[in-house]
């Protein structure tokens, strides 16, 4: 009975839990992601960066929030597969569930994968820099990431991207996808001159109630930021997060089309 003094029990439980968690964490290899997890069969085996279509959590996932696994991408050094969680149109988490292993690859993956994960979250797209010294892994990562991103978009939206390309120096005006947000649709039209973003405007933005005021406030700022950045990597306008996120998505799709 005396053994069950409350303080003693608290100390014991805390010590046991903390040391248990630390033990588990330290037992996990710090190296590259293990290739133990396969969510689908990889058909065929050939060299080069061939993509193998993989039916995991497929498209049609609502853009609101989803965890999506990309294709398995074969590289010279091994398979790469990326899993992302997308919420509110943004990548909030990126992990490599497969990465090259064995020999030097272990250290390279351990070095490169966290960097790539961070870049993916920061950029919100597959347009990220390769990690030097891990070029193949980086390229495979970007491809798998892109395939995961494709699955998160509403079916058909990205497929319909028109790819009109003419004289690259002539000004071209391209309209992005309509992106649904909690408060209404957002659609962005951009003008690209000589490969540079020279004008951005929202042709649709949330309206009605408070949205009118927010849109009036946020859209000009977003237009200005888009032109200044020359990309969809722009900050959200505070107080208009959903509109901003929708704007960025539509802008990205417009830029994708303009870039050919």
């Amino acid at each position: 009975m005396r053994k069950s003094h409350p303080l003693r029990r608290i100390v014991l439980a805390t010590a046991a839990t903390v040391s248990g968690v630390v033990l588990l964490l330290s037992l996990k290899p710090g190296g590259g992601p293990a290739a133990s997890e396969a969510t689908g069969a990889v058909p065929g085996a050939s060299a080069g960066a061939r993509e193998s279509a993989q039916g995991g959590q497929a498209g049609g996932v609502p853009a609101g929030s989803a965890t999506v696994t990309g294709n398995v991408v074969r590289t010279e050094y091994g398979d790469v597969q990326v899993r992302i969680t997308v919420a509110g149109g943004r990548i909030v988490r990126a992990d490599a569930v497969r990465a090259p292993r064995g020999g030097l690859s272990d250290t390279k993956s351990a070095d490169a994968v966290p960097k790539l994960n961070r870049q993916a979250v920061a950029a919100g797209s597959a347009r990220i820099d390769s990690v030097s010294g891990a070029t193949y892994t980086s390229e495979g990562y970007k491809k798998s990431l892109q395939s995961a991103l494709d699955r998160t978009e509403p079916a058909g939206a990205s497929a319909a991207a028109a790819r009109a390309s003419a004289d690259p120096s002539a000004p071209r005006t391209v309209t992005g996808d309509v992106v649904r947000t909690e408060y209404g649709d957002v659609q962005v039209r951009v003008t690209v001159t000589d490969g540079k973003l020279t004008r951005a405007a929202a042709v649709r933005a949330p309206q009605g109630g408070l949205s009118d005021q927010k849109t009036a406030d946020a859209v000009p700022k977003l237009n200005a930021r888009a032109v200044a950045a020359g990309s969809a990597r722009i900050d959200s306008v505070s107080g208009a997060t959903y509109t901003s996120e929708g704007y960025k998505k539509s802008l990205q799709s417009a830029l994708d089309r303009a870039g050919g």
Partner: protein, 460 residues
């Protein structure tokens, strides 16, 4: 001479045949619980390919604590589902203590999970530790199921605070109880972010199925044993107050009449949670032990008027409807493993002892009751006890304060002197916590093994 000896032996054999000790399922149950925890940790292990840096370590510590908290949350609710195997075989008091202990632990895990996960995400997003609040707000806005989870976590913290010793003592029991009922809402609200945002459930459909099965199973048990079983019991037995009798100043007995009460499965030593449908009493239910062996038409409880509720019992009018849930409790004849039994009662703790004194199988001289009270006036039910003792040839002793107010000395030596073969007895013990503690220690010193001291205590 020989005949009495033979007669004694035959009687002893007969008694032993009627004792069927049942093992408490506590140990196998705890093993299952630990195995489940191990499976949950394995799930994390299996789904985590590697950990690259400190940020990943923090995020993963958050995941581990989150998974364990989600698992234990289901068990904390299960402990209060009034499952008969827990209430009657392990013992309501013990399960309630498990519940309090694991509840505190689970809440600590929840807090650790929230802190670690948000810290890890903040680091991933390149925020300093001071950006924790911003990160939390952003995650609640963006991640699936997180708004609900945030509300649920808030509720859990509120419930936790209301159960902290000093707060709990100041709150009226009913308020505390109704705040505690919010646990169901909190568990429901926090469940969804586990399966929607949980890393391990995103990649492992089997784990999601298991999680739904765990929570679904617990929900089913709660509905069954906390709602359907009591409704059926009360529809079937139609309990009403028959009479209220003042036993001693401050102690009343309530006689409750009902139909076919022998079908309730109640035994001496059991208690029910009683709700009297009288003004001011219908919103709270209280556990009181049966103070006599249940009869087909009648049950009796004996209660000391200490709280508002127990004081209100005195004013009950015959015919008042009664809502009962039970029977619960493990302090019954099933616990017994030996032929000889010593019952020790302190104050109103006499109630289950009185019922056991009447019904425990035993030959003359096998059963002894030691009754502790402040004065001889406080020895409630004494005349009944004396009658039972005479009829059964059982021993009845009491210990009261001396006229000067000096407490009787219940020590190992005194116990051994009064009950010479005390180490060969099963001891049933019921009384106020301080009394139970000191008697327990005296009994241990007198050579009674702890496993043969059976007690019930609702103090946490």
């Amino acid at each position: 001479m020989t005949t009495t000896l033979a007669g004694g032996r035959a009687a002893r054999r007969q008694t032993m045949r009627r004792i069927r000790p049942r093992r408490s399922p506590a140990v196998p149950l705890l093993l299952v619980v630990w195995a489940g925890a191990a499976a949950v940790l394995w799930l994390w292990w299996h789904n985590t390919p590697s950990i690259a840096d400190d940020t990943a370590r923090i995020v993963n510590a958050g995941r581990i604590t989150g998974l364990l908290a989600g698992y234990l949350m289901a068990l904390v609710v299960l402990q209060m589902a009034r499952v008969p195997a827990l209430e009657r075989r392990v013992g309501s008091d013990r399960v309630a203590r498990w519940h309090a202990m694991s509840g505190r632990y689970t809440l600590s895990l929840v807090v650790a999970h929230v802190f670690l996960t948000m810290w890890g995400y903040a680091r991933q997003a390149g925020r300093p530790l001071s950006g924790l609040v911003t990160q939390t707000v952003e995650s609640v806005e963006q991640l699936p199921g997180m708004t609900k989870a945030a509300v649920g976590t808030g509720l859990l913290v509120l419930i936790g605070l209301s159960s902290v010793g000093p707060v709990r003592r100041r709150l009226p029991y009913d308020t505390w109880y109704h705040v505690h009922l919010l646990t169901y809402a909190a568990v429901f609200l926090t469940f969804w972010h586990q399966v929607a945002a949980g890393n391990d459930f995103a990649v492992e459909p089997v784990a999601t199925t298991f999680w739904y099965a765990l929570y679904g199973g617990v929900t089913a048990l709660v509905l069954w044993y906390r709602v359907l079983v009591p409704v059926r019991l009360n529809l079937r037995h139609r309990l009403r107050v028959e009479a209220v009798i003042e036993e001693t100043p401050g102690i009343v007995s309530v006689l409750i009449r009902g139909r076919r009460l022998h079908r309730m499965g109640a035994e001496a030593g059991h208690f029910f949670r009683w709700r009297f449908l009288a003004p001011g009493m219908r919103f709270s239910s209280h556990p009181y032990s049966l103070s006599a062996a249940p009869r087909p038409e009648m049950l009796r409880i004996t209660v000391k008027a200490i709280g508002d509720h127990s004081a209100g019992l005195r004013a009950l009018t015959p015919g008042t409807r009664v809502w009962a849930e039970g029977p619960y409790g493990a302090l019954t004849a099933q616990r017994r493993s030996r032929g000889k039994v010593l019952l020790v009662a302190g104050g109103v703790g006499i109630t289950p002892m009185r019922a056991l004194f009447e019904t425990l199988p035993g030959a003359a001289g096998d059963i002894t009751l030691l009754y502790r009270a402040n004065t001889t006036q406080d020895l409630a039910l004494w005349s009944e006890l004396a009658a039972i003792a005479t009829e059964r040839g059982a021993r009845l002793m009491y210990a009261v304060n001396s006229p000067e107010g000096e407490r009787p000395d219940i020590s190992a030596e005194n116990l051994r002197r009064k009950v010479p073969d005390i180490e060969r007895h099963d001891v049933f013990l019921c009384g106020p916590p301080g009394f139970a503690q000191s008697v327990f220690e005296a009994l241990r010193d007198a050579g009674v093994p702890a496993r043969r001291i059976h007690q019930e205590s609702f103090e946490m």
